[in-house]
């Protein structure tokens, strides 16, 4: 039950902060069992406003309201409506599953050198108020982020030197070579200059009828439901077959589950226990799901402390922790065990160093764990407790935010796994704020930590491993909180950052993967899932493990891609 708490809370978030937090890889195959349709009790539809009224509409359970909606589609407001993502568009659509880049408002990009990126802007695109879209709007957007640092949630201007438009080209110049910043530039939502130039306090501006280039415009709005309707001026309007999108208030987890199960919603993002029974079986021919990975959940140990600073100790832990049990029990078997290479497989397999055994996954092997500890000089006492080098029994705590019940269960499985090699683990569940502060200041023993899920593994590795983030204990840091330091890794990261050649980037990647595998800066446990349930009753063409063209989430940027792929059933 409490697991649900975590997930519903997650949906409260309208991801105005452009696609930095999404990622993935196909892990759980979509269930394709065909069966006889037996319509599950169709509806209370009129009452909830769910419009199964028309077969050219989709009802999406994703936007929570609190509990009702405020009428604001400002992409920079932290509490913006989820529908905002269906209205504004980025330069390129980046598929975080595999890093594939699809031209969107831009048609092409070119690195003139590793400090200068030139992007060609699409011709013929119009804002939904009829005014033409141009390279000037793009340059304006980035200038606007510079003028308002509070909007620059990706920290672009730490890297950018200047952004200028000329004709249909926009030129980005960096302060220092930074090739991976492309993904952040690519996913920045572009705003119209003619609307925003006069807005002086952007985060506080209330936008009821936002002007964007995207496939939808705001239709009707009430505090319990809003609709988006198809933008007739959309530049790829011929690809958009869904005329209306309904966003009813999500409500709490239990009621949301009932609404999804009763067929009121066509697309949702909920954690459902035993989904086969709770959702698919209600209408097996149309009720589908796909839960691809969106990040890696790992056990971070404080590397400034004994014995965590010993790679052999960490390696023994990697062999001793029953990761499969965590995937099966804590995550209901919806996810896969993570590779120690720090990549999300199979999505990012083009980056994987083929020489790593078993794709970098540490198998469960208690004997081997004990053997490694023994040869590294760790002894056990008469009660079977493992002793550190000073002769004291090893005991440490693993911190998990309170209420994140799947993580808590994972930590409990780690606890029972490590008991088998004589280590006592305490699971501690502080408030998220305390958890996050302990990690930031380095005042912890162990903690579950999620990372990865970015279009380029560079971004994940940079924030996880770069030693420039590893501040001394007591000083706050937002990245590399386990405080890993390795000059070779820093160099590999730097050469990756500066290189526009894929071969060179891959070389750096495999160096880092080998360090991940051999030194275990963090111990990778399992892939965190992106929850997504959808109905093929009226529309087909949803992303799947076979065709992972986007993450299946109704928030963030994937909807732009998905809604240009959905086909109406004839």
């Amino acid at each position: 039950m409490a697991k649900n708490t975590k997930l519903v809370v997650s949906m409260v978030v309208a991801l105005g902060l452009a696609g930095t937090t999404l990622a993935g890889c196909g892990t759980v195959p979509m269930n394709n069992t065909a069966g006889n349709t037996h319509a599950s009790g169709a509806s209370n539809a009129a009452e909830t406003g769910a419009a199964s009224v028309s077969n050219s509409s989709l009802t999406i359970g994703v936007d929570n309201g609190s509990p009702t909606f405020t009428d604001n589609f400002n992409p920079y407001a932290p509490s913006t409506r989820t529908g905002t993502n269906y209205i504004y568009e980025p330069l390129f659509f980046v598929n975080n599953i595999n890093g594939k880049v699809t031209p969107w408002l831009a048609t092409a990009y070119k690195w003139e050198n590793n400090k200068k990126l030139v992007v060609t802007i699409r011709n013929g695109v119009k804002w939904n108020d009829g005014k033409p879209f141009s390279a000037k709007d793009v340059a304006f957007t980035f200038q606007y982020l510079k003028k308002n640092p509070s909007l620059d949630s990706q920290g672009l201007w730490q890297v950018l030197q200047s952004v200028t438009a000329s004709g249909n080209k926009v030129t980005f110049t960096m302060k220092t070579p930074d090739v991976p910043v492309f993904y952040q530039i690519a996913s920045t939502l572009i705003i119209p200059q003619h609307v925003w130039a006069t807005i002086s306090n952007p985060a506080k501006a209330v936008m009821k009828n936002p002007v964007g280039t995207g496939p939808y415009v705001v239709g009707s709005f009430t505090p319990y439901q809003y609709t988006l309707t198809k933008n007739p001026k959309y530049w790829q309007a011929n690809k958009v077959q869904v005329d209306t999108l309904n966003f009813p208030v999500l409500g709490n987890n239990q009621t949301a589950t009932l609404k999804l199960a009763s067929g009121q919603w066509d697309w949702a993002t909920l954690f459902l226990p035993d989904i086969q029974k709770t959702y698919v079986s209600r209408d097996p021919s149309t009720n589908k799901y796909w839960f691809p990975a969106g990040g890696i959940i790992s056990l971070a140990l404080n590397l400034t402390k004994q014995p965590f600073n010993d790679p052999q100790f960490r390696k023994a832990l990697a062999y001793a922790i029953d990761k499969q049990q965590i995937a099966n029990q804590a995550e209901d078997g919806y996810v896969d065990v993570a590779s120690q290479a720090g990549l999300i497989l199979p999505g990012q397999s083009q980056w994987l160093d083929a020489s790593l055994p078993n794709k970098g996954i540490y198998p469960l092997n208690i004997q081997k764990a004990k053997q490694i500890l023994k040869s590294a000089g760790y002894k056990t006492n008469s009660q079977g407790q493992l002793l550190d080098k000073s002769g004291k029994p090893i005991t440490f705590s693993v911190e998990v935010p309170t209420g994140w019940s799947d993580w808590i269960q994972a930590a409990q499985i780690i606890q029972s796994s490590l008991k088998k090699i004589g280590i006592t683990v305490n699971v501690s569940t502080p408030q998220y704020a305390a958890y996050s502060e302990n990690l930031a200041s380095g005042q912890f023993d162990g903690a579950l930590l999620s990372f990865g899920g970015t279009a380029s593994p560079y971004t994940s590795f940079q924030t996880l491993l770069n030693s420039s983030f590893a501040t001394p204990v007591g000083q706050s840091t937002t990245a590399n909180q386990e405080r890993f330091k390795d000059k070779a890794v820093d160099q590999a990261l730097q050469s990756w950052e500066q290189s526009t050649s894929t071969a060179q980037q891959k070389k750096s990647a495999s160096e880092i993967e080998n360090t991940m595998y051999n030194e275990l800066p963090v111990i990778d446990l399992f892939y965190g899932a992106t929850w997504s349930e959808f109905s093929t009753k009226n529309f087909t063409g949803w992303p799947s493990a076979k065709n992972p063209y986007a993450l299946p989430s109704p928030y963030g940027q994937p909807p732009l891609m998905i809604l240009t792929h959905l086909k109406r059933n004839s």
């Binding site: 990706q154 209330v206 990040g295 990372f451």
Partner: protein
């Protein structure tokens, strides 16, 4: 008169203490609003380091020493200026509260009064006929329902009456196709949506008022003046209502005033389960988002209304019961 002055002085003092606690408590919670917001982002996937910084800049977290924050806080309260809510950014706290307040006042207020009236009358009846059929079934059954976990009861009702039977909507305060307005269709929809929430609060709360009244009443029924009244040959109805119930009611009035004061805080569980747009939902949103401005304003509303309700109850009790006033002057 002294009695009333003393009560007013006490009211002012408690309001000040409440206001100050209200300022201190949220600041003792670990973390800050930007981190709380990051917590939500973090659940959707790993977060980038620059996001938190950007959020802090945007929310404009309080700066300056605690003292200067405290003084400007007191100044703002006097002007009913509670600032901008973090969780409903960029809406102002006063606006957020004003939209939520009517929902709670109407639904929770009506149900609380109804519950009090029905519970008290049933309590009188049960006490008068104590040991008989109604008393034994109602008292036992209601002490049972009063002990139900609210959440469980609400979800069970939603499952059976809304999901399976489809008699009621699963959640919400009114239909998604309507705007709040003084129109028949809207009011009808709001009433329809409020039936299940009302039933749940009523069912879990009525036991308390029934049992409280019943027990008080049984005590007064043992008094000599009741015996005298009966011996005088007064009608049962008159003895029960005018003599016994009226005296038994005194302590209940205070309780009732308190619960009326608490109405302003909304029914937190009910509103979260039903996604009902009232004060309880605001409170839970404010707590989980560390929305200090909203939290402070909400706590202030709640404490002040409880204190005022208490004050009024004191005044009424003072008027009703001369013993209280005399007690005050002699002490």
């Amino acid at each position: 008169m002294r009695y009333f002055l003393r009560k007013i002085g006490f009211l002012l003092l408690t309001v000040w203490v409440a206001v100050t606690l209200n300022f201190v408590l949220p600041r003792l919670m670990p973390g800050n609003p930007a981190q709380a917001m990051m917590a939500k982002f973090a659940q959707q996937g790993p977060v980038s380091p620059s996001q938190e910084k950007a959020l802090e800049l945007m929310l404009g977290l309080p700066t300056g020493s605690l003292w200067s924050q405290y003084w400007s806080y007191l100044g703002n309260i006097v002007h009913f200026n509670f600032g901008t809510s973090y969780s409903y950014f960029p809406e102002s706290v006063s606006n957020v509260i004003l939209t939520a307040l009517p929902w709670t006042l109407i639904l929770v207020g009506i149900v609380t009064i109804l519950q009090f009236v029905v519970g008290t009358l049933c309590g009188v009846y049960a006490a008068w006929n104590r040991g008989k059929k109604f008393d034994s079934t109602a008292s036992v059954m209601l002490s049972f329902t009063a002990a139900f976990p609210y959440f469980w009861l609400a979800l069970a009702l939603i499952y059976f009456l809304a999901y399976l039977a489809k008699w009621f909507p699963i959640s919400g305060g009114y239909s998604g196709s309507l705007h709040p307005a003084f129109q028949w269709s809207f009011i009808a929809s709001a009433v329809y949506h409020s039936i299940l929430p009302a039933i749940t609060i009523f069912a879990t709360g009525i036991g308390g008022s029934l049992l409280g009244m019943r027990n008080n009443m049984i005590n007064t029924l043992g008094e000599d003046y009741i015996l005298l009244a009966k011996a005088e040959g007064l009608k049962n109805r008159v003895v029960a209502l005018r003599y016994a119930a009226r005296n038994a009611l005194l302590p209940i009035v205070t309780n009732f005033a308190m619960s009326l004061g608490l109405v302003v805080g909304g029914s937190l569980l009910m509103e979260t389960v039903f996604a009902y747009p009232g004060m309880g939902y605001l409170l839970s949103t404010a707590v989980s988002n560390q929305d200090y401005p909203l939290l402070q304003a909400l706590f202030l509303c709640i404490t002040v209304s409880v204190l005022v309700a208490n004050f009024i109850a004191d005044l009424i009790s003072g008027l009703l019961d001369p013993r209280l006033r005399r007690g005050a002057t002699t002490s």
